[in-house]
């Protein structure tokens, strides 16, 4: 796994210049936080890496996103294959309206996997990796909606892990969760970075401080500062970064 590289990224939604000349390299097997006030472009930036912005009307991109040295917006790129390598966890837990088992198995079924014992074992290992197995192992046939919010979010992570991604994008994954569920989720994220590259958008400064190795601060569509989390929180070079992190604006 190489670095994820964004080169001279400009994004427009119609006339709205949402991202302006952003270049950034994301280290493999680390947690990278994207922070900044609402509307600063951090979610747009995150969604570039699995091409989820493609569905937005009048979305326009200039620049390159390189994953394993391939420009994912280049010609001949298969978005379905890309998304198997780059998984995503959303803001609100969004399990499918099916059983816990089928939620995790979905990614395998759409790849044409039919072997029941293989699917069984991947479902089990994914739920274990997402630290949900012990809570659900007797109830795999139960509806995913019977789980609590925090469990649902970990189920969504398990579902993502089942297709064996290299990168996991998380768009404010804890914003709908209570403090206990949030802390479980944060422990899980730290655990997952051993095997996956993780990029997380968060509004929660403490969270960025607790779990991420590197932090990027976005403001008004620009990448203002990007450094190790420690430096960003203790000795930011930019006054705006300092003001945002200390809560003076945001």
């Amino acid at each position: 796994m190489n670095k994820l590289i964004a080169k001279n990224i400009n994004v427009w939604y119609g006339d709205n210049h949402a991202l302006q000349d952003v270049s950034m390299e994301i280290e493999p097997y680390q947690v990278t936080s994207l922070i900044g006030p609402s509307g600063c472009g951090k979610s747009t930036f995150l969604r570039l890496f699995n091409r989820m912005n493609d569905y937005i009307d009048n979305f326009k991109l200039d620049g390159e996103i390189l994953i394993n040295d391939v420009n994912i917006y280049g010609q001949g790129v298969n978005t379905e294959e890309l998304r198997k390598k780059v998984g995503m966890v959303f803001q609100k837990p969004n399990p499918f309206p099916t059983s816990i088992y089928e939620n995790v198995a979905f990614g395998l079924r759409i790849q044409g996997k039919k072997d029941k014992s293989e699917i069984d074992s991947i479902v089990e290992s994914s739920l274990k990796k997402a630290v949900l197995w012990d809570e659900v192992k007797g109830n795999l046939k139960k509806s995913a909606f019977s789980l609590s919010g925090g469990q649902q979010q970990r189920l969504c992570i398990a579902r993502t892990l089942a297709v064996e991604p290299e990168v996991i994008l998380m768009d404010e994954p804890a914003s709908a969760l209570d403090p206990i569920s949030t802390s479980k989720l944060e422990n899980l994220i730290v655990e997952l970075k051993k095997s996956y590259t993780i990029v997380i958008v968060t509004h929660n400064m403490q969270q960025a401080g607790r779990i991420s190795d590197r932090t990027a601060f976005f403001y008004m569509g620009r990448l203002i500062e990007y450094d190790s989390t420690r430096t960003m929180f203790l000795k930011p070079a930019n006054l705006q970064t300092q003001n945002y992190i200390t809560g003076r604006f945001g």
């Binding site: 998304r83 969004n94 579902r159 993502t160």
Partner: protein
């Protein structure tokens, strides 16, 4: 009188007006059903359902009409569901949003309000004559399908729209193609309300007589249809036929036929309500 009092008065006037309107509808329906039951119930027995038509009222039955309605229902389901649901999926998920799709949308919504006999005339010109299907079940069911396809398209689109976008995003993010997302997530999630809408549309279709008279459903068919190309009659037309006879005994037969037809439509409506409740309980976002 001050303003508050005036508003209160308006409020209660409208309340009683509403109650009255509701009761007028209900009373009319109740009177209708009571009269039908009084006249027809005595004639309703197994013989009535299994007998072929006859010029003697006491021997005449609805067997051929019932079989015709069953065939009609089956064929109409096949044509209208495949075409209507596919068109609904296309318009909601694939069609580029633009002037053309807007025009199409407005037209389809307007088609829902076109009188059914107009569809009959279209069916007569196109299916009976141009395609040479004559007065067959096939021509009749295609005509009824035309009648309810706009309803099914609208229902399908509304049902798909009601599935949260987050489900779609989740499937895409796992590497699902558009069709996999539609067929494995959106359609199953929407199927409850689609099925409900389809059943209601079909319940309307099987009560139709006007378009079928135009496309050549016969008033007298001695045998039950054996294939889609056979001549046929259906319950509403059989009833219509009996009511226009001078003999009083045929009026009794008509009432009995109406009871059977009402039973079928109530049953279909009941099933659709049952399914709607069941799915609503199962899927909550």
């Amino acid at each position: 009188m001050n303003n508050t009092k005036k508003n209160r008065l308006k409020d209660s006037v409208f309340k009683y007006y509403g109650i009255m309107s509701t009761f007028i509808g209900l009373i009319m329906l109740a009177v209708f059903i009571i009269i039908i039951l009084q006249t027809g119930l005595s004639r309703l027995n197994l013989d009535f359902i299994t007998s072929l038509p006859s010029r003697f009222p006491e021997r005449a039955g609805i067997y051929t009409a019932l079989m015709g309605t069953a065939w009609m229902l089956m064929l109409t389901i096949i044509f209208s569901v495949t075409l209507g649901v596919s068109a609904g999926i296309y318009l909601e998920e694939y069609a580029k949003k633009g002037l053309f799709s807007r025009l199409l949308e407005i037209n389809i919504s307007n088609l829902v309000g076109v009188p059914s006999v107009i569809y009959g005339i279209l069916g007569l010109a196109f299916f009976n004559r141009a395609l040479g299907l004559g007065g067959s079940l096939l021509a009749g069911s295609l005509t009824l399908s035309l009648l309810i396809i706009p309803v099914i398209i609208v229902t399908t689109r509304e049902s798909l729209k009601a599935v949260p976008k987050t489900i779609k995003e989740a499937a895409y993010a796992l590497g699902a193609t558009k069709w996999q997302t539609i067929s494995r997530q959106q359609l199953p999630a929407a199927s409850g309300s689609i099925v409900t809408g389809v059943i209601l549309a079909l319940a309307r279709a099987i009560g139709e007589a006007a378009p079928l008279i135009v496309v050549g459903a016969l008033v007298y068919v001695p045998f039950a249809p054996q294939s889609p190309l056979d001549d046929y009659t259906v319950l509403p037309i059989q009833i219509f036929n009996w009511t226009s006879r001078p003999q009083a005994d045929f009026q009794v037969n008509a009432s009995a036929g109406i009871i059977v037809l009402l039973f079928i439509t109530f049953l279909m409506n009941g099933v659709s309500i049952y399914l709607r409740n069941k799915w609503q309980k199962k899927v909550k976002w």
